[in-house]
Amino acid sequence: MIKVVDLCKSFKGHEVLSGVNLTIAGGYSTALIGGSGQGKSILLKHIIGLLRPDKGKVLIDNQDISKLRRRPLKQLKERFGIVFQGGALFDSLTVFDNVAFPLREKTRLKEPVIRDKVLHELSRVGLSGAEKKYPSEISGGMKKRVALARCLIMNPEIVLFDEPTAGLDPLIGKAIHRMIWECQKSCKFTAIIVTHEIPAIFSIVDSIAMLYNGKIIFTGTPEEIKVSKDPVVHQFIHGELEGPISLK
């Protein structure tokens, strides 16, 4: 279980997160929604330990991630996988080498075993035949799928997705959503998906959390958010221009 308690974070005097409280049940998928610049990706980076909070804590199975020493933190990070917004693929490596990278660096598996695993993972995300291509030679959708394959190859318990369908056409976006859903159901990992894909995301997640003005203002199921009476939530999920959310 992931528990975020009273998390605060500022950058150069500007407070991005001002007391975030959130509980995410293990084995389920949660979508994290909110306007641009509200700190969704920042919250994600706190959950995986890439950023340290100014105040508050992030508990992963009751362990405070910001207080862990080097070795336990490393062990904890090994339980995570993350798919970054731009894929964060290593541009000097081929698709095959990108997916094989964690296995080569963190395990002592022999090259034929690594090869089998990588090819299996690439076929799972529909990228058989693209092994020799470099990240600069493939499309945005393919990059996201390579990133997903690289993330899933280590069988993580918790997977974080930072806008996995940003910049993709609706069909590819839908295919990525379905892929995430299928992988989550088959591997049973805990998924946190930062997204703006509303209402498409409602059909693939178990719960939704909405971040607004540095705080979580809603948590509940997709059915509950659809009938929410909160004016901010209502305006945001219906994409209305009039309402309490001011457009800056």
Binding site: I48, K74, K77, E78, F84, G86, A88, F101, P102, M154
Partner: protein, 260 residues
Amino acid sequence: MSWIFIPFKIIGSYTHRFIRELGKMGCFIAVSLFWIVFPPYLIQRVIKQINFIGVKTTPVIVLTGSFTGMVLALQTYYALAKFGAESSLGPVVALSLIRELGPVISALMVTGCAGSALTAEIGIMRITEQIDALDAMALNPYKYLITPNILAGVLSLPLLNAIFVVLGVFGGYAISVGLMDLSSGTYFQGIRDFIKTQDILEGLYKSLSFGFLITWISCYKGYFTGYGAEGVSKATIQSVVLSSVLILIWDYFMTSIMIL
């Protein structure tokens, strides 16, 4: 009255920023050195970076080394001829190259070729979240990115310096013997008589420290680059300028220490 304090405020702000930057650089290198000592040792990464820093800079070193030796011989010959001391041309060229020009110019060439590329590469990795991806995979970015570059820089610079000096000496030989009709024996005998092990060691220590300095600054500037393409561009410029300036300053201090 508050305007009186404005200059103090500006000076204070710059001093504060300078000290903070120094501290950050100090912490960066301390963490990097810590990870050089502790396993796992990424030998293959070091070899790859030696290829990147050392091998790929070699053609530039070959060219600059040869021409530096040639121009040095040409200039020095006419100066020495005024005193009838042409026979000292060999040791003067060799000594200048071994003690000063070799380490300094080869370091400046590496800064321009490999140092700038290192900063840009690490900077792009930073802005495209590749460094975060390493961290998220529980792989230490210092261990994986920074320490192999520092080791490669320290190992490559003395070798590049040696190539520079040897080619410089032979460039000087080509001018002295081919153009100025100095005898081959006079040129090399002078070098043999005047060059001491201490001179070679001085050049070696200098190039070792320059290798460390270049990779430290290049990696640091790339690792803490600003946002976007402009941030990487600024970091690359700062890296080249700072490395070049520090090479010359550090050269002065090393020379004054070793000359005593």
